[in-house]
């Protein structure tokens, strides 16, 4: 919280100063330096501007952080089928809660959910708070937000983790806006300070940069995390912890949305669930050459995928795109072919167990993420490798 103040008299070289800004937010207006709305408050001009730009901190009315305790996880489900990201987040929440010696909660909103709430207790949460009401059978933004609001007011958790699923991506922002609190999307790393400030790390500025984000002056702190980023704990044979009901009155569950019909999606391409993936990048020169990638994938008994530019060219279905704006994958083996390795792509696959990267450019950033940096031409390597795998199989 704070703002920038420009000391015009301390400016020695206005051109050099405006050039400092990576967002082009500083302008020379007739010898006077002005900062435009493009400013992202990265404070580079404060650090490097020789005192010409000053950052003035504004002291906020501090909240009492000790009143907010525990790490809560939203139980993501559609018609009581719990999304596995829920268990991954419970795993992370347990780790964070242990550091600050506070409890782990799950918040479960739905109808007739007793059995499913019991199931959550097998993953080591201290309490499941259940908002169980017929009117909560289907996900509707207003009723679910209301139930979430009641949970927060009742429990006052320090932090809430929500899966970045179609439900979580609507519910989390709606709740965050209601509590006028911070929400950090698609965190890839989470940690916690002793004062319960949640350390949220995510790729930012749409580029090759990671940002560490805190929500220091509001509670609850909220973060969404994608599926397959965190590790799920083992299911315990015995259920531990208890289920507590969130009292909810029918009259507060009004909605301007009506669910008319729910149909199963047709069976889709599921690169998320593939154990082996072969990925085509911009190093593939023609659409026809994708056959090389598909053949290798077939020989390995895996599936194939691609990077964003290939989807934008219309070469492959968007459902096969890996990365922040595509799918997150976590295969046992991934072989990237002609992929340069933009951060958004890496964020979608760098949890793969074995990464082979084939690229002709020894400086390609994909190599930083790879276990095996293969400096070479995919056009020479891929067909040969496919042949060898096929031949190997034939011998057996």
């Amino acid at each position: 919280m704070g703002k920038l103040i420009v000391h015009q008299d301390k400016i020695t070289d206005i051109k050099a100063l405006t050039a400092l800004c990576p967002f082009g937010a500083m302008e020379d207006k007739g010898g006077k330096l002005e900062i435009s709305a493009a400013c992202k408050l990265c404070k580079l001009c404060v650090k490097k501007g020789g005192g010409a730009v000053e950052f003035v901190e504004e002291v906020e009315a501090a909240i009492d952080k000790s009143e907010w305790k525990g790490i809560a996880v939203y139980v993501d489900h559609v018609d009581r089928r719990i999304h596995p990201v829920t268990f991954e987040l419970i795993g992370k929440a347990k780790e964070l809660a242990a550091k600050i010696n506070q409890p782990v909660y799950a918040v479960f909103i739905g109808s007739d959910i007793k059995k499913e709430a019991e199931e959550v207790l097998h993953y080591g949460v201290d309490k499941v708070f259940a908002a169980d009401n017929e009117l909560l059978k289907d996900f509707k933004i207003e009723t679910y937000t209301k139930a979430f609001e009641l949970f927060i007011n009742m429990v006052k958790p320090a932090a809430i983790l929500v899966g970045a699923t179609p439900v979580g991506l609507q519910l989390a922002p709606r709740v965050a806006a209601r509590f006028k609190t911070g929400l950090t999307a698609d965190c890839t790393v989470l940690d916690i300070h002793e004062n319960t400030d949640l350390v949220q790390i995510r790729p930012a500025f749409g580029g090759n940069i990671m940002a560490e984000i805190l929500t220091p002056n509001t509670r609850p702190q909220m973060a969404t995390v994608r599926y397959k980023i965190m590790d799920a704990p083992e299911r315990m044979d015995e259920a531990k912890g208890s289920i507590e009901e969130i009292a909810i009155n029918d009259s507060v569950l009004t909605s301007r949305v009506e669910v008319l019909e729910i149909t199963k999606k047709p069976k889709e391409i599921g690169i998320e669930n593939a154990d082996i993936l072969v990925v085509a990048g911009r190093g593939v020169k023609k659409k026809e050459d994708l056959k090389l990638i598909e053949d290798l994938a077939a020989a390995l008994g895996g599936d194939f995928a691609c990077t964003r530019p290939l989807v934008e060219c219309g070469w492959m279905d968007a459902k096969r795109q890996i990365g922040l704006s595509g799918r997150t994958v976590r295969p046992k083996l991934i072989i990237t072919c002609g992929v340069s390795g933009a951060i958004q792509f890496l964020a979608g696959m760098d949890h793969a167990e074995e990464i082979f990267a084939v690229n002709t450019d020894p400086k390609a950033s994909i190599f930083k993420a790879a276990n095996y940096a293969v400096v070479g031409d995919l056009y020479e390597i891929v067909p040969k490798l496919t042949e060898m795998i096929k031949a190997g199989r034939a011998i057996l």
């Binding site: 609507q170 090759n208 929500t215 149909t263 083996l333 293969v374």
Partner: protein
């Protein structure tokens, strides 16, 4: 039907790097474009307008040069445009951005339907749309992949969930965010661009808002704070393989075999 589409100007390229020595952020190229996801939102709005009548307005928030995306929307067929711009809005996170947008929207007019793209390519959060709906106290449906029907009171859409498609009816006023699969956006028309070159773009600054308290906008109104930015670090056991195509294929094959990926 009074329709509003929220659009944003984003960097033309996502090439941003941190200089490992100085820690300085390097941003290459100053070119900017309309957030690609917003084109689908605009197309959705234009088709609804063509079918049911009414007006299509667009609103954006950003520095004055972001007016370019409003001009582009005019060239696609939008009727009215407004920009929310003020230095005091800089450094806004999701909450402050959605609050500023909701204030600007209240100022701009009354709308039956607000359409947003699923996400932007620079922020990549997909959260601003739903937060705007809360700030305006209207219902919201995200991830819309098809518009089924509309009348003067309701809109019926298909919302995509993880495993299902939910057909939902939502009453006006409301907000939806639409996916890329929803349609094929039209190209801007040169004729329309020329005809609208002089069309007025409204400008809203802090003093035009219902709430003029600086503390609710920009960095001051943002509960999240960026502590530091750093280049991604990949700590992994690494091996670099070089040689001819044939040797490399052989080496990869041997490793895959050793690790039991191939027989």
């Amino acid at each position: 039907m009074e329709i509003l589409v929220c659009i944003k100007q984003v960097p033309g390229s996502n090439k941003v790097e941190v200089d490992p020595v100085t820690g300085v952020l390097k941003r290459s190229g100053a070119d900017a474009k309309m957030n690609p996801y917003d084109l689908y939102a605009l197309e959705t709005g234009l088709r609804l307008k063509e079918k049911y009548g009414g007006n299509l307005s667009v609103i954006t928030m950003g520095p004055p040069q972001a007016k370019a995306v409003i001009r582009e929307a005019f060239a696609m067929g939008a009727d009215r445009g407004a920009i929310i711009t003020d230095r005091k809005f800089g450094g806004a996170d999701v909450l402050a951005t959605s609050y500023t947008l909701s204030q600007g929207i209240r100022k701009f007019g009354k709308f039956d339907l607000i359409i947003c793209g699923l996400q932007t390519t620079d922020g990549d959060t997909a959260q601003v749309g739903p937060e705007v709906s809360e700030q305006l106290d209207i219902p919201c449906v995200s991830n819309v992949r098809d518009i089924k029907d509309a009348d003067d009171k309701n809109l019926t859409v298909d919302m995509e969930m993880s495993e299902d498609i939910e057909k939902v009816k939502i009453s006006f006023p409301c907000l939806i965010t639409v996916q890329k699969d929803i349609n094929e956006p039209r190209l801007p028309s040169y004729k329309k661009a020329k005809a609208t070159a002089q069309r007025e773009i409204l400008e809203f600054t802090l003093k035009d808002m219902e709430d003029t308290d600086e503390k609710h906008y920009g960095l001051s109104g943002s509960p999240t704070q960026v502590q530091r930015i750093f280049p991604p670090n990949h700590e992994k056991s690494q091996e670099t393989l070089t040689g001819t195509g044939e040797t490399l294929a052989g080496t990869i094959y041997a490793i895959l075999k050793q690790k039991k990926f191939v027989a």
